[in-house]
Amino acid sequence: MKKRFDAYVQISVGPTLHGIAFTMDDLAQAMERADLDGALVSCLKPSNYDFDAANKTLAREISGHPGIAGLARIDPWQREEALKAVRRAVEEYGLVGLHLNPWEENYAVSDPLVDPLLRYVAEQDLVVRIAAGYPVVSHALQILELAQRHPAARTLLTHGAQLDNSGLSIRDALLLAKRTTHTYFETSGVYRRDFIEDLVASIGAKRVFFGSNAPILEIEPELERILAAHLSLQERDAVLGGSLAEYLGWTVLM
């Protein structure tokens, strides 16, 4: 079987704001149960709001775990300090990019506040993962505005960039996908079975990644979302792991 990687996991590296505990050990067990070979992780929001300390702890927790790569959680409201924090996370702690959560950190993703961070991502050829599809703060077309300002920032969008159980944001997410070539789509929680199929048909499996959003969501049903989709075996293997590995650089998850 080809290697399977999870593009969206968060772990707790201390007390979390929402009281959720999911340690690196918990993740290792969950991955074993689900036959996963690796994951792209960031930290759940720490209750003390000290993202820099949490990023440092995350890097320590994941070291020695093959297949695990870490992203720095960054709050753009920290402005110059945010840029320093991401530099530290990458250059000192060894993380491979950053994770932005406009929903939990309260900003519109298209706000110029985010620009210095994405410029850094592009300059350093890092990756950025954005909690996407959230109303008001990270709707697909807000992301499109951001993405068009940063065509060299390889941007991974969670939830297929649409969290809308009326289905009315699907067209927006597909527009974003087609209008850009540097956006990548993670699949946790997405509405409509055929959205994943349409996405793969529109932009190719190389830009679509399986993700679980563990521990907020459970890995098994999210994995089933891919296994049950009508994809070719080659496409399915790519979505389940190959595409993410290529996106990160093949050696990162090995």
């Binding site: 159980n165 959003n213 049903p221």
Partner: protein, 248 residues
């Protein structure tokens, strides 16, 4: 155990660009081992799409598998009340579906409440789309439940992506609210709902063929419910509401 899906669709309307004839739904049901499904259209009646006519046609073609809920537009006042009454009394319709996104009608506005009360008088349940959109929030639907306390109101998607905790709290307040599990991805909140409002008011739904029934069934499977509770969620509860068999 017979699995009954409390929320599914078939329609060949151009609305939304989704082409899902009943054969597609039946194929999905067969693949997932689902015996019966509550079926609604994507389009409302009255409207330009002849939705009710199609619904009745689909139900007639698969009468042992599909349970039609008529998707009605409350804005048509007395006309829609008559249409719905006739659909239940003289045709095969077994429930009412309201989708405030498509007709921009408040679930607790007079027009909607009159329809909901009529469904209650006719002894059929009401499935209302709930979620994060305007006029679909749980407390808006809960107000309709308050105004029509004898109606069995099924909150489709149990609050969507961002309103599930509110849906659970609303169902704690109003015993005539039932929570249907499709499209919301949080298995731990299904477990919490069962714990807080009791297993008899939580209904498995898939929203197929929009939702994938295998994914939706997996959400229930991972809960590892006791066998009796599992049977209620996967079919017993909706069967009881529909009078398909003796109340469990």
């Amino acid at each position: 155990m017979e699995i009954i899906d409390a929320h599914a669709h078939a329609d060949e309307a151009e609305a939304f660009g989704w082409y899902d004839p009943p054969e597609k739904l039946i194929r999905f049901m067969d693949e997932a081992g689902i015996a019966k499904a509550v079926m609604t259209t994507y389009a409302d009646e009255p409207g330009p799409e002849a939705a009710l006519e199609r619904l009745l046609d689909y139900a007639a073609r698969y009468s042992n598998r599909l349970i039609p809920f008529a998707r009605m537009d409350p804005r048509y006042g007395d006309r829609v009340l008559k249409l719905f009454r006739d659909a239940v009394l003289h045709y095969s319709v077994r429930g009412l579906k309201l989708h405030p996104v498509s007709n921009i009608t408040h679930p607790f506005g007079d027009a909607s409440v009159r329809l909901i009360r009529l469904a209650s008088e006719l002894g059929v349940p009401v499935l209302i789309h709930s979620g994060d959109q305007t006029m679909c929030e749980p407390w808006q639907i809960a107000e309709a439940a308050r105004l029509a306390p004898d109606a069995a109101i099924i909150m489709g998607h149990m609050g969507g992506f961002f309103h599930v905790p509110e849906a659970i709290r609303a169902a704690e307040v109003y015993p005539n609210i039932y929570l249907e599990t499709s499209a919301m991805p949080y298995t731990r909140l299904i477990r919490e709902a069962i714990s807080r409002i009791g297993v008899r008011r939580v209904l498995f739904g898939s929203d197929q063929p929009a939702g994938h029934p295998k994914v939706e069934l997996k959400k229930i499977e991972v809960l590892k419910l006791p066998p009796r509770d599992n049977e209620l969620v996967l079919g017993g509860n909706i069967a009881r509401l529909l009078g398909l068999k003796k109340a469990a």
